[in-house]
Subunit: 336 residues, 4 copies
C-alpha cells in the first residue's frame, strides 16, 4: 500500500538507487496556484549534505511537475511529480546484497516479498521521503489558503535539549562511529475546530498513523501524551471560559476531533541504524557475519525528519479538512 | 468513517443511549468455527460494574450473531453482531444537553456535525467499544488458528506499578471525586515475520492508528519507544545470530514489517474526564457555567481498556496477515 | 466486499433465511430529517406477494432504524437499519443442499468460498436487496433536498412493451412453468452538471457498476447505448444552443460527467432462473441430476427490480454529489 | 479518482498535451519477470497512425519503467511507468479554448472543476488510455502465469460485421467528414471458477465499471446481455452435465462469480465526436457558435479501443484473482 489519504491521496514510488522517485497526488482541489518553486525550497530542507554533521550524498533533488497543473494552477487532474536519482553508486552496496544490516528492514523486507532490491535499502530507504515531502508541499500550499500552518522543531537529541548540547551529542556519536536519535515536536496553528471523526478515524489516530509511518519513528504523543498517565483528571482536563479553552493539555484534539487550539505532537526518532561500529548479524544463508557499515551515513537523522514530519502532518490535516468541507457544502446547498 | 481495516473490515454503529450497538465484519475467511460463546466472554471483560472500583452501569451486553455464520462456521458473508442497550437512563443526561463537559468530545462533536446526540456522549461514548471488542473476538479466533495470541496488561496507574499501589491510586482518586489514567502494555506472540508494508502502511503505523483511535489514548510506543531517543544506535540495534535476533529493542517490527519477534506496544491512557469535582465550562450559547459530573463514572478506565486494546491489535494483525497471504498464494499457484 | 460507495457508504448484511437483513450507512450528512416512514413505503414496493403474478412469500419487512438518528434527524453517525426475517421455511430448501440449481449462484458460490448456506440462495438471494432499497431510500431523501428525483419503469417484458402484452407474457410463462425477463428504464431528473470523474470513476461507469451489481441484470446502456454503434457522429452528438443541449443522445453524461440533462439508463433483466420445468444439473459430488424448482417463485421479477434499480442509482448520484460538494466548499472558503 | 482496483491498484496521470502520461501500479505480486518489452508491443497496438484509416498523430509512445523492477523481476514495490508526450501541437487547439465541442467533455469538465486544460481534451483525452494499456500489460503478464488470456475483437462497425463492409463504413464516414462507432467483443479464456463477489462487487459489475469507464463506451453486456430479456428462463439457463455447463448464455458469470466458462462481454462504442461537419455549439460566455473540428481525428476509434478493453478486463480479472487467493492461502495455512 503506497497510497496515503482518502480525499487528498498521494501515491509514491521509487527506490533509493532506482531511476527516480515520485508521487501522484489525486484529489487536489482545482485552481490552487502551484509551480515547482512552491516545492523545491521544502525539498531542499530534507536534503543531506547541508552541514558537516549529516550524510554526504549530494543530490540536486530537482522536482519536476509532470501533470495536473496548467498555466500555473491546479486543474483537478492528478499531479505527478518526479525527482531523478543522480548520485547513485550501487556498487557501494554490492557487499550488502546477502547480509542483513541490524536495525534495517533487510530481513523483514525479504520475509514480506520473498526477495529484495538491496541497493541502499531500496524502497525502505529514507530517500523514499523525497516523494512525501513533495506531496506535503502541495498540501501545505492548500492549507496556507485556509490559514493553517505547520512547524516542526527538534526538541531533544540523545537527551540533550539546548542547541549546543544537541550538536555535541551528534559530534560525539559520529566520532564513536555510532549514532543518536531524538525527539521532534510538531505544531499546527490555525486549524479550525471540527476536523476528524469520533471513532476509528480520529484526527489523532490519523496523525499517529502518518507519523509512525516515517522510518525511525518509534513513538507518537498528542498533547500531554504519556505524561497524561501521571495526572489527575482535574489536572488534565482543559476547562473552558468565554474566550475558549483555558489550557491545552489535550494538544488540540478532543474525542478525536480538533478543538480549535494549537495541535501539539511529539515523536520519538530512533538512532539511525547505520553505524560503523562492528555488529553481529547473519546473511541470507543463515551464516553468522560481522558487519561494519561504511560509506555515507548520518550520525543523526533527526533534523532531516523535520520536513517529513511536517509533510505527513499536512497530508492528514488537509484530508480531514476536505472531508468536513463536504458536509458543510451539502448543508449550504440544502438551505439555499 | 466507521469502518476499520482493509481486508478484514469492521463497520460499527450505535450510540451510548440508542437502541443498540453493533458491527458488521466483511472479509472474514470462510469456514472458521464461530458462535456467540467465542465472543461473549471477551465482551464480559470490558463490562463495567464488575468491581467496586469501576462504573456502575449494569448491562448484560449479550451479543447476538445475525448473519454470516451457518451451522457453526463462517460462510464468507458479512458477520453482523448486535448488542442491545438495556440499562438506558437518558434523563441522567438531560441537564447536559447544552453544556460542554471538559475533556469530552461534546464541543468538538458539535463543531464537526453541527449538532449532536448529547445522551451519554452518543457516538463518542466509550460504550462504542462494545462493537470493537466483538469484532476483535472474531479476529482473535482467526489468529488463534494461525497460532497468534495477543495479551494486554496494565503496567502503571498514575505512576504506580505494583498491584496494591495501583489500586490505592484509584481509591484515592475516587475519594477525591477525581480520576487517574495509566499505561497499558500489549504483547503479540507467534506473529510470523513479513507482516506490514515498508512505506505508509507500516505495521507499527497501523497499530498506532488502531490504538490511538481508542478514546482516552494519548500516546503509542513500539519497542523502546521514546526511550529509543536516549540510546546510541549500537545499543538500540537488535543484532542477529544463528538463533535469530539477540535482543528486541525494536519491539518486533523493523522498517514497518514484523520480524518474527514478540511485538511490544505501550499506550498512554488519560484520566477519565468525567469527575465530580467542580469545573469551569461554557454552554452552547457561550455562557460560562460550573459543572460537576454526577452519576455512574469510573475513577479509572485503564483496566477496561485492556480488551479494547487487544481487539484493535487483533484487527491490525489479521488484516496484515490476510494481505501477505495473498502474495504467497499467488506464488504458490504460479509455481505449481 | 459488501460495502457500496465512497462517501455515502452502505454496508449490507444478511441471508435469505438467516435471522435478519440490514445495512449500515456511513457518511450520511447530518441534520437530514429521517424516520422509518421515509423508508417503509419504498421497501413495500419491492415486497413480493402484492399481485397474483409474483412470488408468494409474505413478509412484513418492517424496517427499524437502530442508530444514527436522534430526535428525527440524522446525526452524522452511522445509520443502522434492520429487517427481521419472519416467513422462513428452510426445510423448503433441504433437498437443494447438495444440488446446483441452473442459472443460480450455487455452483459459483461454492467455488468462491468453499462451502455455502444453501437455504434460499443465502447471501446470493434476491432478498438481499431489502438492505439496498432501505439504503437507497435514505439516499433519495438526501437527493430530494437538492431537487433530484429518480424513477424507474418497466419498458419491456420478453419483447412486449404495452402493459397488456407484458402481463400476458408473464401469465404465459407462469403457465408453462417457465419465466421471462425484460428491460427497465431509469431516469434521473434534476441532476446538476458536474457530477462524476473524467477517468475511471466516470458517472456512467459507476452507474454501470451499481446496476450490473443487481442480480439478474446482464446489460447496461446509457443514452443511446448500443444504438450509438449504429449512428453517425453527426447524428449522435448533442449540439448546443443558448438554451443548452438540443438533444440528449448522450443520456445526460458526457466524458463521464453529468451535463445537466436528464440521465437515462436501460438495463436488461434476465428471466428468473427458478423454473418448475425439468432441468439437467449435477450435485456437489458431480453426479448428474434432474431438477424441478418447486415452491414460491416469480415467473418474472422485472417489476420487483424497479425499486432496487432506483436505490442503486440514488446511491451513485448522491456519492458523486457529495464529492463535488467538497471542492466547491474548499473554493468557497478559500475565496472568503 | 484516478486509481483503479483494490489489490492490483493503478493510479494514472497525465494530459493529452502535458509533459507525460504515466501510471503507478501498487500491489503487483513480487518476482514476476517484467521489462519494457512486455509492454511496448501492446502499447504499439493502441497507437494511431498505423493505417490510412486512423488518426495521424505520430508518437513513439516509448514506455519507461521507473521503479518496482529489479534485475528483470518485480519486487513488490510500486511500478511506475512513463510515456513522454512528444508530438504536441497545443496551438492546434488554441481556437478551442473557449468553445465546447459537441460530444466532448469540454462543457462537463468545466462544470466539474471550474476550469480546464483545453489542449486536446486534457485529462479527458483518449490519449489518457496509454497509461491504462501499460498497466493492463503488466496485469496480463501476471494472468499469463496463471494461464488466463484475454482477447478483444471488433464485431461490428456502424452495423456492418464483415471485414470489408466495416472498412467501407469507415471510409464512407471519413469522406463525409463524419464518424462511425461499433461493437467490441471481449473474451477471457482460462479464468477459474470462483472469482468475484456475490453482492456489490460482482465480477460482471466490476467489468461493467471498468469497460464503461473507457471514453466512448455507452453500453456493456455480459453473455446474452440484452438478448436475455427476450428469452425464456428455460432457454437462458445453462444446464450442467458431468463435463460442466452445456451452454454459456451466462457469459461465464453466475451470481456475480465466474463459473469457469469463457467470459464473454460486448461493449458499444459511440462514433467519435470529433467530426469536420459543421455543428452548432456555444462558448464559455454562452454565445452561439458554429464549429468544424479540423486536425488529426479518427473517423472510427473502434479498432483502437481493443487494447484498452483488454487492459481494463485484465485489471479486473487479476484483482479478483488476488482476492480469492487470499482466502485460499488462509485455509491452506490453517489446515497445515
Amino acid at each position: 500500500m503506497n497510497t496515503f489519504g482518502k480525499r487528498f491521496r498521494c501515491t509514491t514510488f521509487g527506490e533509493s538507487h532506482g531511476r527516480a522517485l515520485g508521487v501522484v497526488i489525486d484529489g487536489c482541489p482545482p485552481k490552487i496556484p502551484l509551480d515547482e518553486s512552491d516545492i523545491q525550497p521544502i525539498l531542499d530542507r530534507r536534503r543531506p549534505g547541508t552541514s558537516d554533521l549529516v550524510s554526504l550524498r549530494r543530490e540536486a533533488d530537482r522536482v519536476e511537475i509532470l501533470s495536473g497543473v496548467f498555466e500555473g494552477r491546479t486543474t483537478g487532474a492528478p499531479i505527478a511529480m518526479i525527482v531523478w536519482n543522480e548520485d547513485i553508486r550501487p556498487s557501494d552496496y554490492e557487499d550488502l546484497r546477502e547480509v542483513f544490516r541490524p536495525g534495517h528492514a533487510d530481513y523483514t523486507y525479504l520475509a514480506r516479498y520473498g526477495w529484495r532490491d538491496h541497493r541502499g535499502g531500496g524502497r525502505s530507504s529514507g530517500r523514499e521521503t523525497v516523494a512525501r515531502v513533495a506531496a506535503g508541499a502541495v498540501a501545505m500550499k492548500c492549507l496556507g489558503i485556509r490559514g493553517i500552518t505547520i512547524q516542526a522543531r527538534v526538541s531533544g537529541i540523545h537527551g540533550a535539549s539546548s542547541r549546543d548540547a544537541m550538536e555535541m551529542e551528534i559530534v560525539r556519536a559520529r566520532d564513536r562511529g555510532d549514532s543518536v536519535g531524538g525527539v521532534v515536536e510538531i505544531r499546527v496553528k490555525g486549524c479550525p475546530a471540527g476536523l476528524g471523526d469520533p471513532v476509528f478515524d480520529k484526527l489523532d489516530a490519523r496523525l499517529a498513523y502518518a507519523l509512525m509511518g516515517i522510518g525511525a519513528v518509534k513513538g507518537v504523543e498528542i498533547g500531554e501524551g504519556f505524561r497524561a498517565a501521571l495526572l489527575y483528571g482535574s489536572e488534565n482536563n482543559d476547562q473552558m471560559g468565554k474566550d475558549g479553552f483555558t489550557s491545552n493539555h489535550a494538544g488540540g484534539i478532543l474525542g478525536g476531533i480538533s478543538n480549535g487550539n494549537e495541535i501539539t505532537i511529539r515523536i520519538a526518532v530512533k538512532p539511525t541504524p547505520s553505524i560503523s561500529l562492528p555488529q553481529q548479524t547473519i546473511d541470507i544463508h543463515g551464516a553468522e557475519r560481522e558487519i561494519r557499515i561504511e560509506g555515507r551515513h548520518d550520525p543523526c537523522i533527526v533534523p532531516r525528519v523535520l520536513p517529513v514530519a511536517e509533510a505527513m502532518t499536512a497530508l492528514v490535516i488537509l484530508d480531514a479538512l476536505l472531508e468536513r468541507d463536504a458536509y458543510e457544502a451539502f448543508r449550504a446547498h440544502a438551505s439555499g
